[in-house]
């Protein structure tokens, strides 16, 4: 401002002056660029503020910093129950993954509706689980503080279920309320090492991790082993692996002839090195979550490690998609129903678990979602609904299929950190 004033010629009229100011400043009202330089505090006030701020930070900051901290995860054996309002309130909040419930043409959910009709229990069904890690981050604050999450029933994968049980963040189930579940649970899912005898959890579905490929993208060649994924030059840059550490590393371990149920640190390192070599020579395109299905469908991924349920659904729409169970075996896991601490409607939740272990509802669910059905005795029911699904070993595993299935062993917290760290390095971060 000062500088412009010294150039003001006397002869200009007020209007001309205003115009000159306007063009110099940018806008008549002195918009942002005009008003800001003047509004800036002088150096004196600024340095005072800065000093005061610095002092405050130094004094308060360090105090506040050391006051923070995260308490140890609760260790409450058997979980913390809230007073069960199931008898008074006929409802229940169920959090599940997307595409994990049967839906009819009118966008209603037939099996859930039948449950409500029979028991009078309204189910608030929410599809708010997209990723185990993300979901854990979401419910951790409440569970760690011993608070109600607002959910009566959740569905998470084995390793997260194991962690929640280890932390004592889920409630023990009452076997007396689960007659069907107890009687009909398939033998292969009965006693995982992280929940022997299924005291806390029941499987919603079984997940098979297999190899899938797009016939068109591989020029008709069959892809039958993980070795082929890792080495076949024709597939360079068009191979996908899953970002779930256990699924990917389990398949590589099997390919190396190791048993994912009892491998050692050295075995794991060998598997990481094997995969790292393929990553380094740019054989592997990406490590993906659920989004591999779109890539495989388009052919951007020619072959990948995939979840069987997805492949069945994808194969219905695209005849080029094929799956293979490798000779070396495949990884099975489950998504499990659990009742978090402080859930208000535990009894209602247990009724829902038991309901889905009756052959009728179980068959209807399996026919829709195409994942492995963990319920014995559904074959006849399923054959009535969908004979093709009943004959599909990816939905109802036959003897030969079951013999090739392997579970990834549960990990200690230290192992989990180390393995996830090594796997993250492998995937680039």
């Amino acid at each position: 401002m000062e500088s412009t004033e010294s150039y003001e010629p006397d002869s200009l009229s007020p209007a001309q002056m205003a115009a000159l100011h306007r063009s110099l400043r940018g806008s008549p009202s002195g918009g942002p660029s005009g008003v800001l330089p003047g509004a800036r505090p002088g150096p004196g006030r600024r340095s005072v503020l800065r000093a005061a701020g610095g002092g405050l930070l130094a004094a308060g900051g360090f105090g506040a910093l050391s006051a923070c901290g995260i308490p140890a995860a609760g260790k409450s054996e058997g979980g913390i129950a809230a007073d069960d309002r199931s008898a008074k309130e006929k409802r229940l909040a169920f959090s599940n993954w997307t595409e994990y419930m049967d839906v009819d043409k009118k966008k209603r959910r037939p099996t859930l509706d039948a449950f409500t009709k029979r028991t009078g229990i309204e189910v608030e069904y929410t599809e708010d689980i997209n990723d185990n890690n993300e979901f854990f981050g979401k419910v951790k604050p409440q569970l760690a503080a011993g608070q109600d999450t607002g959910r009566d029933l959740i569905c998470v994968t084995d390793w997260l279920a194991a962690r929640l049980i280890r932390f004592g963040w889920v409630q023990k189930l009452d076997p007396a309320q689960l007659p069907h579940a107890y009687a009909n649970l398939s033998a292969q899912f009965r006693s995982p090492d992280w929940d022997p005898g299924r005291a806390y959890s029941y499987p919603w579905t079984g997940i098979s991790t297999v190899i899938a490929y797009n016939k068109k993208a591989t020029d008709g060649e069959r892809i039958t082993s993980v070795s082929q994924l890792l080495d076949e030059p024709k597939l360079k840059g068009r191979v996908g692996f899953l970002s779930e550490m256990r699924d990917t590393m389990g398949m590589v371990l099997l390919d190396l002839g190791k048993d994912p149920a009892k491998f050692t640190d050295d075995d794991f390192d060998a598997a990481v090195a094997r995969l790292q070599k393929a990553v380094d020579k740019k054989q592997v395109r990406r490590f993906t979550g659920n989004d591999y299905t779109a890539d495989l469908d388009k052919g951007d991924l020619a072959a990948c490690v995939a979840w069987a349920g997805d492949v069945v659904q994808l194969g219905l729409a695209n005849p080029d998609i094929e799956f293979v169970v490798p000779e070396s075996g495949y990884i099975t896991s489950t998504d499990n129903l659990l009742i978090p601490n402080k859930a208000r409607h535990k009894r209602n939740a247990e009724r829902l678990i038991d309901y889905y272990y009756e052959p009728g509802p179980a068959a209807r669910l399996a026919a829709y979602i195409n994942y492995v059905c963990p319920v014995d005795g559904v074959r006849d029911e399923l054959a009535k609904l969908d004979p093709e699904a009943a004959a599909n070993p990816l939905i109802l595993p036959d003897k030969a299929m079951a013999a090739k299935s392997h579970a990834f062993r549960s990990l200690t917290p230290e192992e989990e950190t180390a393995y996830e760290g090594a796997f993250a390095k492998l995937t680039g971060s």
Binding site: E134, G428, S429
Partner: protein, 308 residues
Amino acid sequence: MTTRSEAAPPGTDEAPARPARRRGRLVPYWLLLPGILWLLVFFALPLVYQASTSVQTGSLEEGYKVTWHFATYWDALGDYWPQFLRSVLYAGAATVLCLLLGYPLAYLIAFRAGRWRNLILVLVIAPFFTSFLIRTLAWKTILADGGPVVGALNSLHILDVTSWLGATDGDRVLATPLAVVCGLTYNFLPFMILPLYTSLERVDGRLHEAAGDLYARPATTFRKVTLPLSMPGVVSGTLLTFIPAAGDYVNADLLGSTDTRMVGNVIQTQFLRILDYPTAAALSFILMAAILFMVTFYIRKSGTEDLL
């Protein structure tokens, strides 16, 4: 300037003006209050919390305690400097591309668009009507291996050049650095165009005429008049583009591969997957410090501190 405009014209009685002035002096603070409270609750407090987390040690089982373990910072920097470097590189490349694409467009909207001006502005903002994720996923379809874009680039041998530069890999674009930079450029382009437009729009057209009267060629007019006057827009546009792009992880996640992961991906992985909260917090602070340092240097260097 403020003091001058507030000063009473000479000759008027000063007594009644004083209480009004005192009240007036408090008004800015009242206006600031909501913003300050917001910053305190949603920026300052989380910042203190994260600062504390970054110097803690422990595990989820044992709980975390503040042990002033500053080595986390060195370890994080030692392990993840390539991702930091990559973030700066990609964000920088995206910012330059945004400027090259955005400046001509902003110039066109400001000076040449006429009655189309509003329509073009709406078109610039239109991508924001859909979600960030959907927009990024659309690029997977656009750049698909067998798609027309990649086919055209291949037949023009452009991909041979970019492959030689290391920006692409063979005959594909997806899952390469080029795809990530394209995604970043696309997603942050409006943040470049809008500030450029607002500063260009304020340039008085008569200055161009005056420059012409003084025998400046159009190029000289642009160099000596338009460009200097639009510098505030350039600076704020580059900052608005560079800062969020450097911390972005969605583009690298969806369009990239293992060798294109940026620091945002590392922070996400550390926080959600490995549950190493101290390292994640330390990485966030390093990123913040690095950006703050670069921005300060940039503003000093470009000499437009007064115009921000």
